[in-house]
Symmetry: C2
Subunit: 270 residues, 2 copies
């Protein structure tokens, strides 16, 4: 089963376009988890257990693990998702970008080592740099298009041939990359107008949307601008607002409440 | 001592602009190293020992370690360079690119965990995404400008405001980024004309040049096009041509011969 098909199944079974981002920051862990870095795996598993029926995807952010040497905990977190929530899509947020043999090794890191269904990648190095990801059978390649940061437009919105660069990326995705594999895009929730322009170009291609919650993106605007003709097509990520909803020992229950409210808010958009 | 100053010292003491890239591929190790992945550290240390007096920099490519879960070996390789070749610059080739807290964690991965003097990063997400790297005191931020792959031009050469995107990146580096920290650029050896255009914009900013050796870039063309007014300014990387010069037990001696010939060829350019 390919990434597109797995995602369709996840949307249907969960009745949710919510993705919970796993950004484990030991300095923000609840008082009940005093092990710091050693508790990353435990923290993530508790979040996964209490939100797994509310999401279409989990998205571990590899930098949180790599900064403190916790790759083996990331392996275990990914394995836990794959084993216990087989109908939830596993997206490794790594934003990799390299060429030739090196790109192939990054694809191996994401798809073989961590078993991810999909990985985020950077388009700056061009189509040939994305090929090792796109050509991995059954897996998804989620290309940065318009990111959610304040300075995203500095290069992404530069005009090339009469349109901004991020739309050129979207157009290349909709034509070239889609033919090579199950391609998706990243468009930040903080730019709903840009999201609508991307959707108009890419048809029903899935779009991963970070930036709601802590980053301030508006759910109604995102869903209205971003969903496809079937009222689907979005993977709407929330990380910190879910993970750090509460610092008490019942943090996981609090995370569930926020995830549930977010899913319902997404589904309530007319 | 900052990155620029450390690099100046390295150029002076080694009389070399050669950088040896550490891309350890167990499938290409000599017959004497049969441990596969377990021998990555040993392989790298032998290359480091026999080439350390011939180079201004070593550049471990993190994907080779990450694909097979060898981060602890990368830690040891980096520590070995820092301890035994304190006048050689350590560049972590990671091509990271993310925003906010996540970018700060990637900076921590490169500069704290691995102790790198500099790290390669991707500019697509804009100036704010580079800030955590640029603002780390004493360290260098090496931004992808024009990469060495065949398809590099697909986005990098798109015309924006009358010049190709990679020159806009170079111009931003020479103005904004340089004020924020010790910034350098990546320009592939396979595009000497583009290298000359970048040099004309960035003055004496260091440029990391991958793509000689196995990728076919021409040393004379690179040095002529890329060096600065002081006949310096380049970090010219060779990986596979050095590492896999020979598959016999004397592979490290063969690596030294290739490194020496490459350094001399660089220095011989009029």
């Amino acid at each position: 089963m390919g990434f597109y098909q797995r995602l369709e199944t996840a949307w249907t079974l969960s009745e949710s376009m919510l993705c919970v981002g796993l950004d484990p920051d030991p300095s923000r862990f609840p008082d009940s988890l005093r092990g710091g870095v050693r508790d990353i795996e435990s923290f993530c598993k508790q979040i996964i257990d209490t939100t797994g029926d509310l999401v279409c995807a989990f998205k571990p952010q590899i930098a949180y693990f790599a900064a403190c040497g916790a790759e083996s905990q990331l392996e275990k977190v990914c394995e836990y998702i794959l084993n216990n929530f087989p109908n939830v899509v596993l997206i490794l947020d790594a934003k990799r970008g390299d060429i030739g043999d090196t790109a192939a090794l990054y694809a191996r890191e994401a798809f073989e080592r961590y078993g991810a269904d999909a990985v985020t990648v950077n388009p700056y190095l061009g189509t040939d740099s994305l090929a090792p990801f796109l050509k991995t059978p059954g897996r998804g390649t989620i290309v940065l298009c318009r990111t959610s940061n304040a300075g995203a437009g500095e290069f992404q919105s530069l005009e090339v041939d009469g349109e901004p660069l991020y739309l050129r990326v979207a157009r290349t995705a909709a034509t070239t990359w889609r033919k090579q594999g199950d391609c998706a895009l990243v468009v930040g929730a903080t730019y709903p107008e840009e999201l609508a322009r991307v959707r108009a170009i890419v048809g029903d291609m899935p779009i991963l949307v970070p930036g709601i919650g802590a980053q301030g993106g508006d759910i109604r605007a995102v869903v209205s601008a971003g969903r496809d003709a079937n009222r689907r097509g979005l993977i709407i990520n929330s990380s910190r607002a879910v993970l750090y909803a509460d610092h008490s020992p019942s943090f996981a229950a609090a995370a569930r409440r926020v995830a549930l409210a977010t899913r319902d808010a997404i589904n309530a958009v007319e």
